[in-house]
């Protein structure tokens, strides 16, 4: 395997506490050496290696997105594993965790393995998240040990929350026994029938049925109660795409009580509000929906003060024709892999002064740790050679039609981003280059 040298860049590796000018040698898919500029030992194999000149650029651990929908198997017209991971690589991601709401639902070791097979032609590493229950119907839990050995990194019924207390209790206990996290899409679907945006004055004005914040926070509170009752320190409950102040408050409280309850926030939930639905923009329709400005502010607050464990995109591609319909009939979801870094730097770092290292940690080290992705999210010798090299100062305009994804359903078309990815390297291989 060829070696790769990244020279002259500024390495930020929050997990390792590194923030300075470093040269990197990548070999055999791993980080072989990290040295001060010009100090790589030639004997290690740097001689003859391909050299990337990263002068003026930032080098960071490849980004990790623990919440994406790659649509395969079954919905290749929206996205394939190949196109979804190409889009991820363009956004600086080197690891994505793929949700199981495929057709059929990924509730088996066979599908879990199929998703990771070389034939899928993934540009970066795909970690399947398996369904918590058979067919994600919330009735019978799957064989988590078998799913884990097939490569699943967590279980969830994303999109189809587990409503029954006894099933959720069983899921938490069984997943804990095999060391898997349980991810919950917190939505009491009994309260959100026919709803297509956040409940509130905007929904009333637009004549749309609304999803209340309680439909989210109620499930988060119920889940935390179950974790409390189970008294098993191995349990890890992760709340997907947190969107309400009340749900965050519940997570904050659970953490104070010493429970292993974590959460992620999507860029659209810390940037946009229900106002962005505008006149029925179906590219502003997702689940959970865009919330009030108070909720949006609570997301920013919680990111800044450290309650939020990760930024995750909930990348949810849909074909153009599926979104060119009446708002109520449009499917939920937006793409997000190519805009997460640019939006996070532009807003969290530049506007709201979160140190760049913490922004990067929320996009790599912390999500990797949540799902126990060993050797990812950091760049120490021996870890995977998953690297993103980007220009942290470069401002650019995101053009949705130029996406690598099969779909372009984003509310961020035409938005200004900061931080332009130059190279994305997945296990020592250049997965994306923009030079």
């Amino acid at each position: 395997m060829t070696a790769l040298v990244i020279r002259g860049g500024h390495l930020i590796d929050p997990a390792a506490g590194v923030d300075g000018l470093k040269d990197l040698l990548l070999k055999d898919g791993r980080v072989a050496e990290i040295a001060s500029p010009g100090k790589l030992k030639q004997a290690n194999g740097a001689a003859g290696a391909e050299v990337l000149d990263a002068t003026g650029l930032t080098i960071a651990p490849g980004l990790v997105d623990i919440h994406v929908h790659l649509r395969e198997p079954g919905q290749g017209y929206k996205e394939t594993i190949a196109t979804g991971t190409a889009s991820a690589a363009a956004g600086g991601f080197t690891s994505v965790a793929a949700m199981p709401n495929t057709r059929p639902v990924n509730d088996s070791p066979e599908i879990t393995r199929w998703m990771q097979a070389p034939e899928r032609a993934a540009a970066i590493r795909v970690f399947p998240i398996a369904a918590a229950t058979r067919g994600s119907k919330g009735e019978a839990i799957n064989d988590y040990a078998a799913l884990k050995s097939a490569g699943a990194v967590a279980v969830t019924d994303d999109g189809y929350p587990i409503l029954k207390d006894n099933i959720m209790r069983e899921t938490l206990a069984a997943a804990a026994r095999v060391g898997l996290s349980v991810i919950q899409h917190a939505e009491d679907t009994r309260l959100t029938q026919g709803a297509s945006m956040n409940a509130g004055p905007t929904a009333f004005r637009l004549g749309l049925r609304g999803m209340t914040g309680e439909a989210e926070s109620g499930i988060v509170e119920r889940d935390i109660r179950l974790v409390t009752e189970l008294r098993d320190a191995r349990i890890h409950l992760h709340v997907a795409h947190t969107s309400t102040a009340a749900a965050l408050a519940a997570v904050r409280q659970a953490r104070r009580s010493g429970l292993r309850v974590t959460c992620e926030v999507a860029p659209h939930h810390f940037l946009l509000t229900e106002e962005h639905v505008g006149q029925y923009n179906t590219n502003a329709k997702m689940n959970p929906p865009l919330r009030s400005s108070a909720d949006r502010d609570a997301m920013i607050e919680a990111i800044l003060d450290g309650v939020v464990d990760a930024i995750a995109t909930d990348h949810a591609p849909h074909a153009i024709h599926e979104k060119e319909v009446e708002f109520e009939n449009a499917p939920n979801g937006i793409t997000g892999l190519e805009t997460a870094l640019g939006l996070s730097i532009r807003w969290l770092h530049k506007e709201w002064k979160l140190p760049l290292g913490r922004v990067l940690s929320l996009l790599s080290a912390q999500p990797a740790a949540l799902l126990n992705l060993k050797g990812r999210g950091t760049l120490t010798v021996g870890s995977f050679a998953d690297v993103v090299v980007f220009d942290p100062k470069a401002e650019w305009i995101y053009i949705a039609r130029e996406t690598k994804s099969k779909s372009r359903n984003t509310p961020f078309d035409g938005w200004t981003m900061q931080g332009k990815v130059r190279w994305t390297i997945s296990e020592g291989r250049i997965a994306y280059a923009n030079t």
Binding site: Q193, F204, R205, G207, Y280, E324, V325, E351
Partner: protein, 377 residues
């Protein structure tokens, strides 16, 4: 971390929601809030002028221009009055309804709209069961789209005809309504013209206000009663009338009237006590309970009637001088008694009649004379 510092930091520049690109076509009427006071005045004036114009010259205004009526929901008043209005101006109309078209086969709104445009439709009148559908249709076709009711959202021409009805009964001096004023025959053919054009009588429409301002309805209270949650008529009126100074009271049970309705715009208040609302009102607009949109909501109709039905007794004791409006269809014996519907304070059929005049004006606005048609107009 210091929370105040955090708050101060993020207050600088949160991402702003983009400005609405709608309407794409200046002839469209999507929302009551799209119309400025000048445009409202213009539509009111043209409605009266067109109503009074000789049918033999009026039908040259939109001679042979193609107007499509695209109806995804059943309708009597709106559909017929739009059609009569278009025909009165000389336009060719065609009706496409969801039950007898390729919509049944799964054709989308976008494709249906593009098909109508390809067939030569120059404007589309859309009634749809989904809120927001007219915005989609306008964005895809860029034709003038007239919103004839979208889901639970808006029904702007209804608000305009309600305004016309209200103004016809308004005494500008006392800001009271006079129920028996301007009871005019329902004019659907030219036969009645000479009667209306005859010598001005003190009760004729000539006293009707056409030039509206932000003060025109100052001091006037209109109460909308019943199923506000599911009502596009209520929403359009709530957006339109307060801009002319009216106070809009909303009245109904919590299930049909959520508290946040009061935040839909300025000049809107909630008064759940029907009698108290009636006592303050110069006009009361009763709404039908929309059984088709209740979505599983359980409602005790007997209790509803006991609390919110407009009976002769309630009207006589609480609002003997108010006009009674209803956008239709009426369910006699539910929201209003037959006696009230047919009674002297009812202006329900006048509303229907005003629909034709308003829709003529709105269609004329939608299809300004093009160069090609210039010679014919």
């Amino acid at each position: 971390m210091n929370p105040t510092a955090t708050a101060a930091r993020r207050a600088i520049h949160p991402p702003r929601a983009p400005d609405s690109p709608f309407p794409y076509n200046p002839g469209s009427l999507l929302s009551a809030s799209d119309l400025g006071l000048d445009e409202i005045s213009h539509i009111l004036a043209r409605a009266t002028a067109l109503e009074n114009q000789d049918p033999l010259t009026r039908d040259r205004i939109l001679a042979k221009r193609r107007v499509a009526l695209l109806f995804y929901e059943s309708s009597t008043r709106t559909r017929t009055s739009f059609e009569l209005a278009a025909k009165a101006l000389g336009a060719d109309t065609t009706l496409v309804s969801s039950l007898s078209s390729s919509i049944e086969k799964g054709e989308t709104l976008k494709d249906t709209g593009l098909t109508l445009r390809a067939l030569g439709a120059e404007a589309i009148i859309l009634r749809h069961n989904s809120s927001g559908a007219p915005w989609l249709l306008e964005a895809e076709t860029r034709l003038p789209v007239l919103n004839a009711g979208d889901g639970m959202h808006e029904h702007p021409t209804q608000a305009l005809l309600d305004l016309r009805t209200l103004l016809a009964h308004l005494d500008p001096a006392t800001k009271t309504c006079i129920p028996e004023r301007t009871k005019k025959p329902v004019i659907l053919s030219g036969a009645h013209f000479s009667e209306v054009e005859g010598p001005a009588s003190p009760t004729s429409a000539q006293h009707t206000i056409h030039q509206v301002t932000a003060e025109t309805l100052a001091g006037v209270t209109l109460t909308i009663v019943g199923d506000i949650l599911h009502s596009r008529v209520a929403r359009s009126n709530m957006l339109l009338l307060p801009r002319l100074g009216a106070r809009v009271l909303l009245c109904g049970p919590k299930e049909l009237l959520p508290e946040l309705a009061a935040h839909a715009g300025p000049g809107i208040e909630i008064e759940r006590n029907f009698e108290a609302a009636l006592r303050q009102s110069q006009a009361v607009m009763m709404l039908r309970i929309q059984a088709e949109r209740l979505a599983g909501l359980q409602l005790d109709l007997e209790e509803y009637k006991a609390t919110y039905q407009l009976t002769g007794q309630r009207l006589a004791t609480q609002a003997p001088n108010a006009i009674v409006m209803h956008p239709g269809p009426i369910i006699r014996g539910l929201e209003v008694t037959a006696g009230v519907a047919d009674g002297p304070q009812s202006v329900i059929l006048e509303q229907v009649c005003n629909g034709v005049a308003i829709r003529m004006a709105v269609l004329e606005r939608a299809l300004p004379a093009t160069h090609a048609q210039g010679g014919r107009a």
